[in-house]
């Protein structure tokens, strides 16, 4: 198994774990972390793509690396914005649950619907 395949499988695993976490975790903070894991998987995939694309002549295709840098910046600012929202929500409401996430019918009087 070549290195590229191993990295590709790792990327797939990270994407899968991130998706699972994003869907099942009810707490926003964990959702944010899961999103970061998911994003890392995608960035790793970009790396794999860069390595595969130029394996013969040069060591690496530089374009995917540039894309990953931009992607990391975007993911960083997304995380910062999300954390700021969570903090603000905690200050306002005293908890950070997205209360709409309660199963339907559990409490119909919840706000925010």
């Amino acid at each position: 198994m070549s290195a590229v395949t191993v990295f590709g499988l790792c990327a797939a695993a990270a994407v899968g774990l991130g998706l699972y976490g994003l869907i099942t975790n009810p707490q926003p903070l964990r959702k944010i972390i899961a999103f970061n894991l998911l994003g890392s998987g995608v960035f790793l995939l970009f790396g794999v793509v860069g390595r595969r694309g130029a394996a013969a002549s040069i060591g690496n295709d530089p374009v995917p690396q540039a894309l990953v840098i931009t992607g990391v910046v975007v993911a960083f600012s997304a995380t910062a914005l999300a954390i700021a929202l969570v903090l603000r929500l905690f200050q306002k409401a005293g908890s950070t649950t997205l209360s709409d996430d309660a199963p339907p019918g559990a409490d119909p009087n919840l706000p925010g619907g």
Binding site: I23, V49, V74, L85, L89, A93, D100, G112
Partner: protein, 592 residues
């Protein structure tokens, strides 16, 4: 003019600098506002907005003169290495719509968000975000590269999310949080698709990709992932968990932007992806699937809208239905070769997007004035609004008429084009849905207007008087939407000659009456008429007469509302998202 030019655009065309300016000007405004600080932010916005609008008009004027799209190569590097900005007819139309809506919203918000009114930073943030949304949208409309579109899409989301929670109440923060998380999920899927496409073809430039994309499994997976991610951001039917609370909870000026423009950004990228990047790839089955979701959105969104008690929530659910309407064009755009063609169906869909942008923004602005004056926006409590804020109620009515597809509105022309395409293709089922969309819109607009025109049942406690300028801005935008059908679209969208846009005979009038009459029937059957209206009379007698049918219809709509609650539960929506991605990949696979 619509399809990407067959030759590689290796040079910047004359007038190409306009494209850069339209992105740079709003961004420069943001930076300037940060430098000058709180006190001058509104001044900066009011300086930047006319300049930006003038640039949009200049692009509109420059486009028909040249052959093919306007192109600007950043740093003069041609596409495989560099990044190109391109403006075709679709971009020009959307740029103009965005400029019109931004202008009206700025005039409306001038009083609400003046620097002196509040202690908070809300005004400062609002103007900054308004310019940021404009810059991001212009980048989306002009971007010629899938990764540029990704960055612009993220910028749009980051500017839109704080607008939702501008008032800082706990429930709006929660709505913003859900919006952000779901939008991030969508954009990660889009990015994943981008990575796959780059791995396959070594470029992300739209024109280059359109020549290299072929039917292979990885490309299908990429297309399915990107489409689904964008649908999550557009809030097409089963993926709408974030839209109603976000759009209804934001301040009215922000709702107008979010509902009118922000959802059009990701919709526009879907159009680019399907029509420009991979016209041969989606295939018949996938197009039927995406339009079926749109059809479900129309029925579902309208039925739930009719059950809402608050005006802004009703308008938010109406947005949900209208988003569905936008996606009906995809199956109607198939040419004989089995590829998506930029014909009258695409023109109709784009026109629908433009007229929805203007009309829905006008509707939210009018609702904002009504809310400010009455101090609340419960629909049964709207009595007397017709007397207290006549201009806003008129603006609401006009934008409602435009949305219903009454001539000479843009939506009317769009509906005609789509119906024509449906008749040519023999896909009558979409024609039925197109008509149903107009009828449902008629129903909830009539429901609101009936309450607004009723006499006030008690001495309503007045909020503050709505500023006259704001009301006029809403009215102007509604009129703009209602007159869109008369504009010379032929230079930008491929509209066949001899269209019915300029003749008003008996057939036109009867077409106009259909949504009104049908809407009345639907409103009587499905509307919530409780507590009864201020005027007793025949209305109540009518409700009693249709009692049994109405009870059955209401039971059905209650069921739909429960379904909506289930679908807006986070895990359900995420599972819908993943299954849709799988379904899209499978249905594209079927096609070949």
């Amino acid at each position: 003019m619509l399809a990407p030019s067959p030759t590689l655009d290796a040079t910047t065309t004359t007038g190409g600098f306009l494209l850069v300016l339209s992105i740079v000007v709003p961004v420069a405004g943001i930076l300037l506002a940060f430098v000058l600080g709180d006190r001058y932010v509104r001044l900066v916005a009011f300086a930047v907005i006319p300049i930006g609008s003038a640039i949009a008009v200049a692009i509109l004027a420059a486009l028909p003169q040249g052959n093919g799209p306007l192109v600007y190569l950043l740093g003069d590097w041609p596409p495989p290495l560099g990044i190109a900005l391109r403006a075709d007819g679709l971009s020009a139309a959307m740029l103009a719509a965005a400029a019109a809506v931004i202008c009206a919203v700025a005039v409306f918000a001038a009083a609400d968000f003046s620097p002196a009114t509040t202690e908070t930073r809300a005004p400062f943030v609002f103007w900054i975000l308004l310019l940021a949304i404009w810059g991001a949208l212009n980048t989306i409309f002009l971007g010629g590269d899938l990764f540029t579109l990704y960055v612009a899409l993220e910028l749009l989301t980051f500017a839109a999310v704080p607008l939702v929670s501008l008032e800082g109440r706990a429930e709006t923060l929660r709505a913003a949080m859900r919006y952000l998380l779901f939008a991030l999920l969508g954009s990660v899927l889009y990015l994943l698709g981008t990575a796959l496409l780059y791995g396959l073809h070594g470029t992300l430039d739209i024109v280059l990709l359109s020549r290299r994309v072929s039917l292979e499994p990885a490309a299908l997976v990429a297309a399915a992932l990107m489409t689904t991610g964008l649908l999550a951001k557009t809030a097409l039917f089963p993926l709408h968990l974030w839209l109603p609370p976000a759009h209804a909870g934001a301040p009215s000026a922000a709702s107008a932007i979010l509902s009118g423009l922000v959802v059009k950004g990701s919709f526009f990228i879907v159009v680019r992806l399907w029509f420009n990047v991979m016209p041969g790839l989606p295939g018949f089955a996938a197009a039927q699937l995406i339009a079926a979701l749109g059809g479900a959105a129309i029925v579902f969104g309208s039925v739930v809208a009719l059950r809402q008690e608050r005006l802004k929530l009703l308008i938010a659910y109406s947005t949900l239905a209208q988003i569905g309407y936008l996606f009906l064009m995809f199956p109607l755009a198939f040419g004989a070769s089995g590829r998506l063609e930029s014909g009258d169906a695409l023109a109709g869909g784009l026109l629908q997007a433009v007229s929805h942008a203007t009309a829905k923004a006008a509707m939210f602005l009018a609702a904002g004035s009504i809310y400010a004056t009455l101090g609340q926006d419960r629909i049964p409590g709207l009595g007397g609004a017709g007397r207290m804020v006549p201009i806003s109620v008129l603006a609401f009515a006009l934008s409602g008429l435009a949305l219903m597809g009454l001539p000479p509105g843009g939506a009317y022309l769009a509906k005609e084009l789509l119906l024509q395409a449906a008749a040519e293709q023999g896909q009558w089922w979409w024609a039925v849905l197109l008509q149903a969309g107009g009828i449902f819109t008629g129903a909830y607009v009539l429901l609101v207007l009936t309450y607004a025109m009723a006499p006030a049942d008690r001495q309503t406690t007045l909020g503050r008087a709505a500023p006259r300028m704001g009301e006029m801005a809403a009215l102007a935008l509604a009129l703009c939407s209602l007159l869109l059908g008369l504009m010379p679209w032929g230079a930008y969208l491929s509209i066949p000659h001899g269209d019915a846009s300029d003749k008003f005979d008996l057939a036109t009038i009867s077409k106009a009456l259909a949504p009104l009459l049908g809407g009345t029937v639907v409103a009587i059957l499905l509307g919530r008429w409780e507590p009864p209206l201020g005027y007793p009379s025949r209305w109540t007698a009518l409700l009693v007469a249709v009692g049994p049918v109405r009870r059955a219809a209401l039971a059905l709509s209650a069921l739909v509302e429960r379904g909506d609650k289930v679908l807006r539960w986070w895990p359900t929506a995420c599972i819908c998202l993943l299954s849709l991605a799988a379904l899209f990949a499978a249905s594209m696979r079927v096609a070949f």
